[in-house]
């Protein structure tokens, strides 16, 4: 174990330069996020992830945000275990009817001010599961959405771009 730890110290970090915040995301946020809610939280956001029917590919890429290459926590963004600790809900999937109630309750359990990020093509409008008897069809049909990050699944870099845009916007750094 010591050898591995020592090598981690002597080799340079794997962590990469962050991408620029996504312009489309900034535009969407400008429309959705209230000015009053901005700059309340300091440069830090706690995120609660909710799988509302995804195929689990989005979860894999959200997980990857924590690895050494993307190192999400350096931006003050971290995943928390309870909606009661969260500022942001990150929701994936076409919202199955079997998850609709759980998503609503999770949203209601999250204290204000809060933001909802819908991740992936399914979360936007149901994606390829649109029209199923078992799916609602998009996160915004159940709870208000502030930002969509498209992709099937979105790459960790795309996720990072969207989240950085949210962070800048919420903390009022973006002009």
């Amino acid at each position: 174990m010591r050898r591995i730890l020592f090598e981690s110290l002597t080799h340079g970090p794997l962590t990469e330069q962050p991408p620029a915040a996504d312009d489309a995301a900034i535009a969407e946020l400008a429309k959705n996020v209230e000015k009053a809610a901005q700059a309340r939280l300091g440069r830090s956001l706690s995120i609660r992830q909710v799988d509302a029917g995804s195929c689990n590919a989005c979860e894999l890429e959200i997980h990857a945000l924590a690895n050494a290459f993307y190192d999400l926590e350096r931006f003050g963004l971290r995943f928390v275990a309870s909606p009661r600790h969260a500022d942001v809900l990150m929701v994936t999937g076409p919202v199955t009817k079997n998850m609709r109630e759980a998503l609503k309750r999770t949203y209601n359990a999250t204290p204000d001010p809060k933001w909802v990020v819908a991740v992936g093509g399914c979360a936007a409008d149901g994606g390829i599961f649109k029209g199923s008897y078992a799916c609602v069809g998009g996160v915004s049909d159940v709870v208000p959405v502030d930002l969509h990050i498209p992709g099937c699944p979105p790459s960790p870099r795309a996720l990072l771009k969207g989240l950085l845009a949210l962070l800048e916007h919420v903390t009022g750094e973006h002009r």
Binding site: E59, L60, F79, N98
Partner: protein, 501 residues
Amino acid sequence: MSLLDLIPHQEAIAAHRPWPRVLVGEQGWLKAIDLLAAGDVTLLGFWGEVSAVHLVLLGAADEIAIVSLQCETGKFPSVAARHAPALRLERTIHDLFGLDAVGATDTRPWLDHGVWGRSTPLGKSDAPRDGGPYQFLSSEGEGLHQIAVGPVHAGIIEPGHFRFAANGEHVVRLEERLGFVHKGIESLMAGTPLDAAAKLAGRTSGDSTVAYSFAFARAVEAALRINVPPRATYLRALMAELERLANHFGDIGAICNDASFALMHAQTGILRERVLRAADTCFGHRLMMDVVVPGGVARDIAPEGPAAIRELAAEIRKIFPRLVELYDNTASLQDRTVTTGIVKREYAQKFGAGGYVGRAAGRAFDARRNLAYAPYDELSFEVPVLEAGDVNARVWIRIREVEQSLALIDQILDRLPTGAINMALKPGGAPCEGIALTEAFRGDVLVCLRLDGEGHIDRCHLRDASWFQWPLLEAAIEDNIVADFPLCNKSFNCSYSGADL
């Protein structure tokens, strides 16, 4: 004597490939149940249609047969009443088609949570179902308390509900309640052209997208009697092994992380990311979605791909052995994984548990070896099997499979045939049926489908390995402490989406 000699049956369906499908009467159906209950055959699949039910059976010599019972009256003799592994599949058949299992002892709904706005969405009638709260199985005794977890969990994982009955720290009973991510995939597939259906198949369980696309493509090709070009089969296997590597790295790290050993998680996370980046370089998508298609593969490996994979393999061979050594030499970690969450060998056999769950508990089944589909029939690899059945054994199976996948990737790159990567599909003109199993990282994926004359999907059933692993998790956790549940659960890493469909 062949498997079907044991089961009285009527005619075989001529357009079903590659294994025989026969129609049986009630006598044949009951005989199939006898064989399952006696342990002479293993249940590979069990699904319904509007007025039929089908069983896929695996015989002792890896012989496969499908028996079908017409049930115009909407009833069929319960399989689950005598063979527990069929239970959730049978409840699903009732939820989706409204067919009644006569003699069933557990008739609670499974996927249907009473919120679809209709009952039996794939069946004939829309008769309202008596609602009411879901009845969990009871546990009674002094000092017992219940712990309810989910469907929204603490981590970044899929939703499901776990109901523990515990006495202090000790789990007396765990009952799973799943179905939260049921998307109606089989219903969406009906009537769609193959390209749309292939996309749905590839999103049944995102972590196994290659394995699902591979199984779906092979089932279509069996139905249409197509042999895809050799280069396509090799590229498919290359993707399947990259997918296995990525998932095994993720799992090994996540299991150790659930024992609070974060260093391993950080290190295997790096390896996993490198695999996904190599996959992106080779096939233009980190998870390689939609690259395996009926008829072959949608795109060839990028020119710089083989070099990227060789570089990746060299990096893994440099780093991974040290991590294995670290795992093996960390007593505090071993203390958590050894003898925790034991799957009994007889359960693994009875449930036909695939993947590392089965192979860590003495069940030596790997579809790549036992059914030897192309190109694995031409490649040399070992199927590691252990007996202990605990979390530790499931970690070691993954470690050994990483090594085998690296060896397979070498062989695939060395022998990668030249030539075409796909071929055009011609609809059969008449209905035809195909069935295929592929080995995903967590176990065998089964796809059974029927195409209509125009080559559209008439009916497609997809069965994840998790169907037969989830119930064993309930058994494995018994008498363990509540705090070891995350560890046990992660060592199974069953798919929610794959089993909820």
